[in-house]
Subunit: 208 residues, 2 copies
């Protein structure tokens, strides 16, 4: 079994969505003085590799803590969307079944620390999102900050059908290079069990 | 495949270690006014179901974000320690191998919301911790707030050998009832990738 970590490390100097306050991760206990080290975190949910739940965009949507854990495991599909328009044609000829997890590789994650990461990321087209819903996909993840921009129509299509969204994925190129010819892998995407509209998530690709 | 979630939900009113500030999970965006819902979290790491890393008790110990993800997957062993002294005899006749994950069921998690949860939890004896290290166990988890009390000798034995610790597990009784006669299961314990001494962790038992 081989594992690939698709998660950015959460550090205080990681980039944030324009206008959002940066997270703080502050040392509050010090070994020399206290006999132990302790940290304290203060952050919004939409920073680093995180998962959006329907409550984020829907008045009475579900919180992340309300989903059964089965939702977070599924057969993975890596969609190569580098330098391509992200529309439904990219899903053609893929054997995607209900409960599967789709990861979109735009290559944009390499710009994670650059300003243009949040300014110029590619969006997902509406017919792609509708096809994802039609197929019964469990989770859609991407190596960009968001599937769309204001007024967040794609977010609403996906979350409106309880398709969870993972933003700011890392290492999709590594996954792509590691996959065998059959391309088979499993995704395990476990969010913290926060009773909230989103949460940090640890995302692992498991290759047999 | 059957999954059991061994994680307490993270809510602002969850109990905390005596003396620690309670976490806050505050709504900062409101659908009616803002068009979306947002939450903000402020918390120490040692609340709810969380994982301790060596840095917590060792001056130059590793942060949680420094471990390869293989560390978080392993064959599970459920040790029934209800109404028993937690010493090395409980590990006898178990086929525990290097990289396995040991979960200690004291039954104490049922008191999670009661005051005595933090006051009267059972401790792990030194010979149990030494045996865990000798066997090369990857992670030890328990349904109590801590394996020990000040001066945290057990913490230091375990973390000193890079054995990670999970505290405040839930649903071990459910796991016990669900396991087949062979008792086989796998543990997947994915912490958030915080560059810190500990972090919230989502812990799943996977039964084939």
């Amino acid at each position: 079994m081989q594992y690939i970590d698709l998660t950015h490390a959460f550090t205080p100097n990681m980039p944030v969505y324009p206008g959002d306050s940066p997270p703080t991760l502050t040392q509050t206990g010090f070994f020399e003085k206290d006999g132990y080290n302790d940290f304290h975190i203060s952050t919004g949910m939409h920073v680093g590799t995180h998962m959006d739940s329907p409550l984020h965009m829907l008045e009475n949507g579900k919180r992340l803590s309300e989903f059964p854990v089965e939702k977070f495991f599924g057969k993975g599909h890596l969609i190569d969307a580098r330098k391509k328009t992200i529309n439904a044609s990219l899903l053609r000829n893929k054997e995607i079944s209900e409960g599967d997890i789709v990861l979109i590789m735009t290559g944009f994650y390499a710009k994670f620390s650059e300003r243009q990461y949040y300014e110029k990321y590619p969006e997902i087209e509406e017919n792609f999102a509708n096809k994802i819903v039609e197929l019964g996909v469990s989770i859609v993840g991407m190596d960009t900050p968001s599937p769309d921009r204001v007024p967040f129509k794609i977010h609403k299509i996906l979350l409106g059908s309880d398709v969870l969204i993972i933003e700011n994925l890392a290492n999709l190129d590594k996954l792509s290079k590691t996959l065998g010819q059959n391309g088979q892998f499993r995704v395990i995407a476990l969010p913290t069990k926060f009773a909230a509209e989103a949460a940090p998530v640890r995302v692992i690709a498991e290759i047999c």
